[in-house]
Amino acid sequence: MSREKDFQTINESIKKLFLAEYPTSRIKVNAQNKLIMIDGQMYRFSITTNLDYRKINLKKIQMKSKKGKLRSKNSKRILTKIAMMATVAGIGAAVHLTSSLNEKDTVSQVTTEYTSAVPEKQTIPYTIVIEQEKPKENDLEENTITLFKEIVFTDTLGYEKKQETIQEFGNFIEEYSKRYGLDYNLNVALFTQERSNDRSNPNYNNVGQITELLCGEKITAPVYEEEKFIGMDKIYILPKCYDNYPLEALETMGNFSEFSNLEQEKIQEAIGLKKEGYEIYRLTDVKNTVSLNIKVSCAYLSYLINKQQNLVKGLASYNMGYTRINEKVSEEEILRGQVTEADDPNYLNNIFRYLTKEELEKGFTIQYASGEVVHYQIEGMDYEKETEHSIRR
C-alpha cells in the first residue's frame, strides 16, 4: 500500500473517531502534520496510550502570518507556481499509533509502524481530550466600556420586572450564557429590557424578541463546557411560511409550490444545512418555547459579538441589525445614543439601567470564538448618582 494511501486510511479512521464524538461537526484530518480541523477551528493532535486507555490530545492552534525572506537551497521548489500538497513526511514524523474501526465499529489498536505486520487486534477504550487552559485572572484581556451618557437606573417597577426575569427565566439564561461564553448579569438585563411585561401578550414567551428578520440567517456560536471550548452550535430558522408544517416533513414535502421562490430557496437551503449539522427550527417554535427562545437569542448574541469582534457593537447589532452597525459606526456613537436611524438609539443604556451598581463595577466577561477571554471594565460615569425614583440595591 502506498504511503499516500496509508495516510488516507489514517485520516479516515481518525475522522470516524471524531465524528463518533462530535456527530454534527465538520471534521478534516491531516495525519502527517498532526492536524485536525473541527468546524473550522484548527488543532494539533497527539496520541498517548497505555494498555488500558488511549487518549487523543487536542491543542487549539491558530493560523498566523509572518513576513520575511525565505532562505533555502530548495527555494525554487518550495515557492512553486503550482499549488500542491506537501510531500509526505517520513514515517518517523507521522502518527505512530492509529486506530481503525473494525466490523463492529469499536476502536482497536492496529499497529505502531506501517512497515511492521499488523498485530492481533485488541479493543482499547479511548477518550478525546481538548487541551485548553483556563485563563488566569491576570491573563484576561482587559477592555473598557466608557459610559458617555448618564444611566437612568430603573424605578421600582423596573426592579420588579428584573426580579421576574430572574425567577421565571433565570435558569435558562444562566444555562445558555454559560454555553455561549456570555455574561449572565448582562443577559438578565438584556432580556429584561427586551421582554414583554404583559402575560396576556401572545409574544410573552418570546423573551429575546426574536423576529422574522432572523429567518434564513446562518447562526454559528462557539460552545463552552466548564469554560472550555467544545465546538460550535449551528442554527437556522425556517421562513415564517413553514410555521404550520411539521419539521419532520422538511425533506419530504416536495417542491413547496405554495411558497414564493425566495421562500422555497430558504427551505431548500435548510435541507442542505441540516446535512451539515445545522439545527433547523420553525420560527413559531422559537418564539413560543421559552427554553428554545433563550437558547437562540443567546446563540444569536454570541454570533453577533463574535462577528463584530466587539461587545458594544455586538449588543447594538442585536437590536439595530448587523448591517446598520458597520465599521463606520463607532463604539462612542453607540454609547452616546447617536445611531439615530435605530428604533432605540439608547439601547445599551436601556439595558444597563437594569444592572446594579455592583454589577456595573464588576464588569462583563465574554469568551470569544478565537479563544480570547475579554473582561470589560465599565468607567466614565458617576453611576453612584441615583435618580429620585431609583432604589438602593
Binding site: 492536524l35 492552534i61 498566523k64 525572506k69 515557492l79
Partner: protein, 78 residues
Amino acid sequence: MEDTFFLDTTEGSIECRVITNLYSEKRKKHYLVYEYVDEKNDDLYVSSYDPEDETNTLNDVSDSDELREVTELFESMM
C-alpha cells in the same frame, strides 16, 4: 523528503517546515503554509508570495478576511 527553510525576519532567523502551498483563484495569489521546526510553537503560519519574485520574499497576510479565506482554503485541501 520534507522541505525546510530559514525565514529571515527583522527579529532574526527562524527554521521552518513547509506544510503546503495554496493558490487562491479569487485573489490570484500564492500562499505558503508552514510551521516552526521548534515544536514549542504549534501554530501554523501563512505568507503570500510571488513565484516570479527572485528575492524569495514572503509577505504578511494582514487582512483578517484574507486570512480567514486562506484558512478555509487550507481546510478544503485537507
